[in-house]
């Protein structure tokens, strides 16, 4: 019986529940089928009791070599396929790709199409951020309710996308030099109604989460990211700005017609999970401001540049890197043209893939339960990470 150690236990002094276990690290494979990993994502974690000492992300389960497929099809043929990268934000994926091809071929976009792009991109940002907040709360154990509240609002925006493009999530809406279909006055009226009702939902949602004691305990001072590390590791998007770095491509690059709109860039102070969460809530309010301005100012006119050949589209020889501020960070496309009908090189710069670089740094020293919160606050979509 001594082999099992039961006899020794009888005489030994009782061990405190929170005593530190000195011994070997235990290796745990979290995922790939874990409800909080947001898809098929795995982490090899070495644990000392409950504390994370080492964490190596493992992915590639959804890898289908998107870039190779892009190199074997025409320029336009990749457009619907970009929807499948970050399947929450197909509109911004379309825009990033269209912007890069427009840079590559030197195409101009008509005014009305630029406005439509801004409206749809900001709607996408709204529904991405709102569902992220829902998922994050769900990861923390607030099962169901916040996620359903968030999805109720997201569904309204997806309905708008559906009536415009024919699809809720796989929109395939933008084209090189414009957009595919125009929105009518009734669409704008519906959109305005949703935009007007959104702040009220945000008030309610923020009241639900901001001062919640459990949420504060689980997120404040968890997964702190310093500004130096964030810059060096190429972190972009809300995660970077939560660390206090003022870098938003809508301001810096001023692509499209963003310089025309008045909006502020919310910044975090501590770079912890709470800042990342609240930053998204604040960003949604700024997006609503941009939407209201764009809906007022949108001019009448064509939505496609008539000079662009949609069929047999062949950009001149050269290369271009175009990028936009996606809801998850800097989404870029790098294209090399050899003068043919398909790109010689087609590269996606996926924000959520690169934002995972610092996952280990954020998790070290925290407990396993915190890993899920930290991963949730990074905001990843496996369709984009694995490509």
């Amino acid at each position: 019986m001594s082999a099992t150690g039961f006899h020794e236990l009888e005489g030994a002094p009782p061990k405190a529940m929170n005593a530190r276990i000195e011994g070997d690290l235990m290796e745990v494979s979290m995922g790939p089928q874990h409800p909080s990993t947001h898809g098929v994502f795995r982490m090899n974690v070495a644990l000392d009791g409950e504390v994370v000492r080492k964490l190596k992300p493992v992915f590639g389960y959804l890898h289908r070599n998107h870039e190779k497929i892009g190199e074997n099809t025409s320029y336009l043929g990749s457009m619907p396929y970009t929807d499948r990268l970050d399947y929450f934000c197909s509109m911004t994926n379309n825009w990033a790709y269209a912007l890069s091809v427009e840079k590559l071929a030197g195409i101009e976009v008509p005014e009305r199409a630029e406005y439509l792009r801004v409206i749809l991109a900001e709607l996408t940002r709204l529904q991405n951020h709102v569902s992220l907040l829902g998922f994050l709360l769900s990861d923390m154990g607030a099962w169901g309710t916040p996620l359903m509240y968030a999805f109720r609002e997201r569904e309204k925006i997806l309905d708008l996308f559906e009536s415009l493009s024919g699809s809720r999530m796989m929109c395939d809406y933008m084209r090189f030099g414009g957009c595919r279909v125009d929105a009518g006055p009734d669409w704008f009226a519906r959109a305005q109604k949703i935009i007007d009702a959104f702040p009220r939902f945000l008030d309610e949602f923020e009241e639900l989460i901001v001062s919640n004691e459990i949420l504060i305990a689980r997120t404040q001072n968890v997964g702190k990211l310093s500004a130096e590390l964030a810059i060096n590791a190429g972190i972009t998007g809300p995660m970077l700005r939560a660390s206090g770095v003022n870098y938003d491509l809508r301001k810096v690059d001023g692509y499209g017609i963003y310089p025309r709109f008045k909006f502020r860039i919310p910044l975090g102070d501590h770079g912890d999970c709470y800042d990342r969460l609240m930053l998204r809530a604040l960003e949604m309010r700024e997006s609503l401001g941009i939407l209201n301005q764009a809906m007022k100012e949108i001019p009448a006119g064509p939505i496609m540049n008539p000079k662009v050949k949609v069929r047999a589209f062949k950009p001149p020889i050269g290369e271009a890197y175009g990028r936009i501020e996606g809801p998850k960070g800097e989404l870029g496309f790098y294209l090399i043209s050899d003068g043919g009908a398909s790109p010689y090189r087609y590269r996606v710069r996926p924000p959520s893939f690169i934002n995972l670089t610092v996952l280990e740094d954020l998790c070290l020293g925290h407990t396993v339960a915190d890993v899920m919160v930290i991963l949730g606050s990074v905001d990843i979509v496996m369709g984009e990470v694995d490509r």
């Binding site: 590791a233 190429g234 050269g318 890197y321 690169i354």
Partner: protein
């Protein structure tokens, strides 16, 4: 931001011995790039990151490109003696460019908010052991992206802290983003004990003798 020629001159002055070439970009995007030599790439990258006028602290995009062997045919006028008289004859000559693998880095500055500055490095050839210096010690954002290039193109990055396959599984042997890649007939194939079972099972497929007495048995029962 300074022009690329200025950046080149200043980097060459700051890093003695560095050879930098400017690669032109003929397209409308007008994003020319700097071609670095392997030996001084790390030092030049550090200069680009830390120089107060440049401060290229954000290494946004890192990617590989596969350039196959290229033959470019040119028409050249050659003087030749034809039928005793010297004449100018047009002849097509083929120029051969050996293939190489390339790593491209897109740099921006978060502090000074400018960019992009594109830098690239080229391997000597397309062989399996193609090597480049890693820039992960300078910009950590290259960590996963260089791993991805190693995975899909087969460029080995010297000095990378953790160079493993990232998207394909560890046992995979080929490099799928290369232009001459051919996919296997069966991705899942690997030799297993099941093969022996299949070999044995083949015995059952040998044709049975036509008459083995079984037909007589059924006749008697009837």
């Amino acid at each position: 931001m300074q022009s690329l020629d200025e950046i080149k001159a200043r980097a060459e002055a700051a890093v003695p011995g560095a050879k930098i070439e400017i690669v032109p970009n003929p397209g409308p995007a007008n994003q020319p790039s700097l071609l670095l030599d392997h030996e001084h790439a790390g030092a030049v990258a550090l200069f680009l990151r830390d120089d107060p006028a440049l401060k290229l602290d954000h290494c946004s995009n890192v990617t590989g490109v596969d350039w196959l062997d290229r033959k470019v045919s040119k028409k050249v006028k050659v003087k030749k003696v034809v039928d005793g008289a010297e004449k100018e004859v047009e002849e097509s000559q083929e120029e051969f460019f050996p293939g190489y693998l390339e790593a491209v880095y897109h740099l921006f500055s978060m502090t000074l908010k400018h960019g992009p500055v594109v830098i690239r490095m080229r391997t000597a050839d397309r062989a399996q052991g193609a090597q480049l210096p890693s820039l992960t010690p300078v910009w950590r954002s290259a960590e996963f992206q260089e791993r991805e290039i190693f995975d899909l193109y087969g460029i080995k990055f010297d000095g990378h802290p953790d160079l493993r396959r990232i998207l394909m599984w560890d046992e995979f042997e080929d490099f799928p983003m290369r232009k001459d890649y051919r996919e296997p007939d069966d991705y899942e194939y690997e030799p297993t004990p099941h093969d022996e079972v299949l070999e044995k099972a083949k015995q059952h497929y040998t044709p049975r003798p036509q008459l083995d007495g079984a037909e007589n048995l059924t006749a008697a029962q009837q």
